[in-house]
């Protein structure tokens, strides 16, 4: 959104230290969520002198991993392969156990066979029998319904047995890979059985929640409240798998581990920033889900805004989870809630019609299975935001995401300003301003564009690139985002998970967009052909500022 009017910032109330005004928790609940005043837990390294410098510091404590929604697609495609990979690389302790909680009628044996099949299909390394079997032996199937008290009572007994017989030390990760509607039910059941209680001197409890974290600000607050009734914020790990991607994690290293970029990373040198998350796929059998979701809820509110915060945040004072997340929240707060006028001016939505993608004809969104033929769900969104702070004031951030775009590509592009004095204006082609592009997927890497003289007698300038690709410098597979995030949750490192106040701050930006659309006239959909880069209005949005979207 555009910068708020300057006079408003000069009022006496806001003239007080800006930091205090923006950071101070306003309610007891916020205070609790922000978790600022609590003494930080001492790290193992701080208390145990033998821990310092150990490479295997990343091995989690013995624990039970309780997986809700264990028979679902997400678990088969992502969670089991990630857990197996951690097991295969000796990153899980010997005493580790998995309790798979599901409704379908399996027993331990048949469920293990099901997981074995999932690993054969989805594991990124071919499962080796010698490694798979001990992994499967650690899986117990726990049949039950989320609404059934007895099932959770039995779960509590099972966890006690695990502790006694397998030495899991009372540590438990609860992983909710369920529909979001089930979250409050499961959390309440865990609370009813006292399974959230951390035992003094050992026995931690953590809960991992898969997105979506609500569908608007109110529902997000409600969900946080329900979870907060049972678990403390420090026990809650909200997964946005985008944050586990290697390139996204590298963004922090790139920005704060290199001295040469940070001095340029501000309004003085940066003209604008473009963040694109493009998908070539359509709804792929998830029509009913997508109808209820749309591009804003599916990508903008979480992935895109998360990428934006990582690009725009101030360097945290330390690299611990709360310091990092404090800085991210400040960015979201500095964007503020868009007004109706700002939504109309700075946000464009679209829905794809029939077209050609990857040399194949594809149907329009309204012709996809499970989709309302009159659907108003957006499959594309482009937005222009401004971050109203000292570093970024006046620098537009253009975000776009969509389905059925020409290719699958995610990228962050930092467009630097042109040189102040055009020394080479008489040459055939003026040098283009410098650009730094961080490719999140595919071909993960970083590209720097600059002008260079074409060899020869004249003074022709051509734009060239220095292109770093992960594939050439590190010819190895990166861990899957789920491996990274699940291991971090087991280790109690919340840096890459979203905090409650962060989720709500993101919804404060996304909700007014959705509300504005809901209360306005129906959109004229479809307005872009599958296989194109979105509606013409998206081009107009950026061209209004004299810029254009990067051709990816």
């Amino acid at each position: 959104m555009t910068t708020k009017a300057a006079p408003a910032k000069a009022t006496p109330a806001k003239a007080a230290p800006a930091k205090a005004a923006t950071e101070e928790p306003r309610t007891i609940r916020e205070l609790r969520l922000a978790h600022k005043e609590r003494p930080r837990r001492r790290t193992k390294a701080a208390s145990n002198p033998l821990r310092a410098g150990l490479r295997l510091e990343r091995m989690p404590d013995a624990h039970v991993f309780v997986l809700f929604g264990a028979t679902g697609d997400l678990c088969h495609r992502k969670v089991y392969p990630a857990l197996y990979q951690l097991w295969r690389t000796d990153l899980l302790p010997h005493e580790w156990r998995l309790v798979a909680f599901g409704r379908r009628p399996f027993n331990d044996e048949s469920f293990r066979a099901d997981v074995r099949k999932a690993l054969e299909l989805y594991s990124r390394v071919k499962p080796e029998p010698a490694r798979v079997e001990p992994f499967l032996e650690r899986i117990d199937y726990h049949m039950g319904d989320f609404g059934e008290d007895a099932a959770f009572d039995r779960l509590a007994e099972r966890l006690a047995t695990c502790e006694r017989e397998h030495g899991t030390l009372g540590n438990v990760v609860f992983y909710l890979a369920t529909q979001s509607t089930a979250f409050p039910v499961v959390v309440a059941q865990l609370g009813r059985c006292g399974l959230d209680h951390e035992i003094h001197g050992g026995g931690w409890r953590r809960i991992v929640i898969e997105k979506p974290f609500g569908r608007d600000l109110d529902s997000a607050k409600r969900l946080n409240r329900e979870v907060g009734k049972v678990f403390r914020e420090s026990q809650v790990y909200r997964i946005d798998h985008y944050l586990g991607k290697e390139t996204v994690r590298n963004l922090l290293v790139f920005r704060f581990g290199n001295g040469i970029f940070e001095p340029l990373w501000n309004r003085r040198y940066v003209d604008h920033v473009q963040i694109t998350v493009a998908e070539s796929l359509g709804v792929e059998g998830r029509g009913a889900f997508y109808e209820e979701t749309g591009a804003v809820r599916d990508i903008l509110q979480n992935h895109l805004l998360q990428l934006l915060t990582l690009v725009a945040m101030e360097p945290p004072a330390t690299f611990d989870a709360d310091a990092l997340r404090d800085e991210k929240v400040k960015v979201l707060r500095a964007i503020g809630e868009p007004t109706r006028e700002e939504v109309e001016r700075d946000v464009v939505r679209g829905q794809y019609g029939p077209g050609w993608v990857e040399a194949k004809p594809v149907p329009g969104y309204r012709e996809e299975p499970e989709i309302d033929p009159q659907s108003e769900t957006e499959t594309f969104v482009a937005a222009r935001f401004e971050i109203d702070d000292w570093r970024w004031s006046g620098v537009p951030f253009y975000l776009r995401t969509g389905k059925r775009l020409p290719k699958r590509a995610s990228e962050i592009a930092i467009q630097f300003r042109a040189v102040p004095h055009r020394l080479f204006r008489d040459t055939a082609a003026d040098p283009e301003p410098n650009l730094l592009a961080i490719r999140v997927q595919p071909d993960e890497g970083i590209l720097l564009r600059f002008g260079s003289k074409v060899p020869g007698l004249g003074l022709d300038i051509r734009t060239v690139t220095m292109d770093f690709t992960y594939g050439s410098a590190f010819s190895t597979d990166s861990p899957d985002a789920y491996e990274t995030l699940i291991l971090d949750a087991m280790l109690g490192d919340a840096s890459l998970f979203t905090r409650a106040d962060e989720v709500e701050a993101a919804w404060r930006i996304a909700t007014p967009i959705l509300e504005s659309w809901e209360s306005g006239p129906p959109p004229e959909f479809s307005n872009y052909a599958a296989g194109s880069w979105g509606p013409d209005e998206a081009d107009a949005l950026i061209e209004r500022d004299g810029q254009h979207w990067r051709r990816i």
Binding site: G53, L56, G202
Partner: protein, 388 residues
């Protein structure tokens, strides 16, 4: 990170010979301009392999042919992950005339089917006569400038010699393996400790690196809140190591366990190691207010001599004893902690024995100086002090 030793190894894409440093440099520049450096792609069309990819210079000093062969095999397994210019240098015939013979190779591999081919340069250098005593003069012109230089010297490293010092001057990181030294290995520790005082140089002893799973297991005992206070009250440290009757065992690895604990807990060496008649070694450390008895105890075993079999710690605090046994067990390490009057705790740590490619990869990946290792090496040297 495990290196997959079953992964496809490299294909030889270029091979040539040269007998002078200048000729080697000329051959190296030819490799990447050569039209021969192509590979047949799908459908039979020829495509050029990707350009040279180097992230480091790796210099390996192999004084015996088998060490050179082993090192070359390690490097080919690392090619995909850590492409390098590697020089495998073998000094030969020290008393003859000076000569040099080099085999220059480009080895390439496809790390993934969809990836570009990654190539490394391997230079096998045999250096005869006086030249073998000035390895730095041979190595320096062949390094890719601006890339970090790691020198790996397997086997007996002549620490302290001018030739070694000169070579290490070129390096950012030196990798040695104290457990491969001849004899009991203790004699070289003092020189190694001198080397780690050079802040410019990172020194990695693979013998110390290999034991990380043991350290993790030992540390885990004191993560338990009830047992944590005992860590400052250790009264004895015993390390049992494999020995074969009649043969002297290198005890650098067992000693490193003690040295690590000594350095982490701030213990002072009161009485350095001394060999004892019944076999093995004894030493004494001093903590605030109490002593810590140290014992390195040989035990007949099928494992190679000097391999750690068990670490036993005894601690006493407020008249309460704690016995900790950490024992090698196949592919893992088993920890048993028995606090007096408390429950017996048993944990097993899965940890595959790491191969040389794993260890070298870890060495390369670790950035910056490792103060924990430096302190452990200093401690080992202090403990070894009285025997030599």
């Amino acid at each position: 990170m495990d290196i997959d030793t079953t992964a496809p190894v490299t294909n030889l894409r270029w091979s040539s010979r040269a007998q002078t440093v200048g000729a080697i440099e000329a051959e190296l520049s030819k490799i990447w301009a050569s039209t021969k450096l192509t590979v047949e792609g799908e459908g039979g069309e020829e495509r050029r392999v990707s350009a040279r990819t180097s992230v480091l210079n790796l210099v390996i000093i192999a004084r015996r042919p088998e060490l050179g062969e082993h090192a070359a095999s390690v490097i080919t397994h690392l090619a995909g992950r850590h492409p390098s210019r590697t020089l495998i240098v073998s000094p030969a015939d020290p008393d003859g005339p000076s000569w040099l013979d080099a085999r220059i190779q480009a080895q390439c591999m496809l790390p993934r089917p969809d990836a570009s081919e990654t190539c490394i340069e391997l230079i096998y250098l045999t250096v005869g006569g006086e030249s073998g005593r000035h390895l730095n003069a041979v190595v320096a012109p062949l390094l890719v400038h601006d890339l970090p230089v790691t020198v790996w010297w397997p086997g007996d490293t002549p620490l302290g010699l001018p030739m070694t010092r000169d070579l290490f001057e070129l390096a950012d990181r030196v990798v040695i393996d104290g457990s491969s030294w001849s004899g009991d290995g203790l004699g070289r520790l003092a020189k190694l400790a001198e080397l780690v005082e050079d802040e410019r140089l990172d020194v990695v002893d693979l013998a110390l690196l290999r034991q990380s799973r043991w350290r993790e297991a030992i540390a885990s005992v004191f993560d338990l809140p009830d047992l944590m206070p005992f860590v400052r009250s250790i009264r004895s440290i015993s390390v049992f190591y494999a020995s074969h009757e009649g043969a002297e065992a290198n005890v650098v690895k067992p000693l490193y366990h003690v040295a690590w604990l000594q350095s982490r807990l701030g213990l002072v060496v009161e009485q350095p190691l001394r060999a004892v008649a019944e076999g093995g070694y004894r030493a004494r450390l001093k903590a605030r207010g109490h002593h810590v008895a140290v014992r390195l105890q040989p035990q007949e075993s099928a494992w190679s001599a000097g391999t750690t079999l068990k670490v036993r710690l005894v601690a006493e605090r407020n008249d309460r004893m704690l016995d900790v046994d950490v024992t090698a067990d196949g592919e893992g390490v088993v920890v048993v902690a028995e606090p007096e009057g408390g429950p017996r705790i048993e944990r097993r740590f899965l940890a595959h024995r790491r191969t040389d490619p794993d260890l070298i990869a870890e060495t390369i990946e670790t950035v910056g100086s490792d103060s924990i290792s430096r302190a452990a090496i200093r401690g080992a040297a202090a403990l070894a002090g009285a025997t030599h």
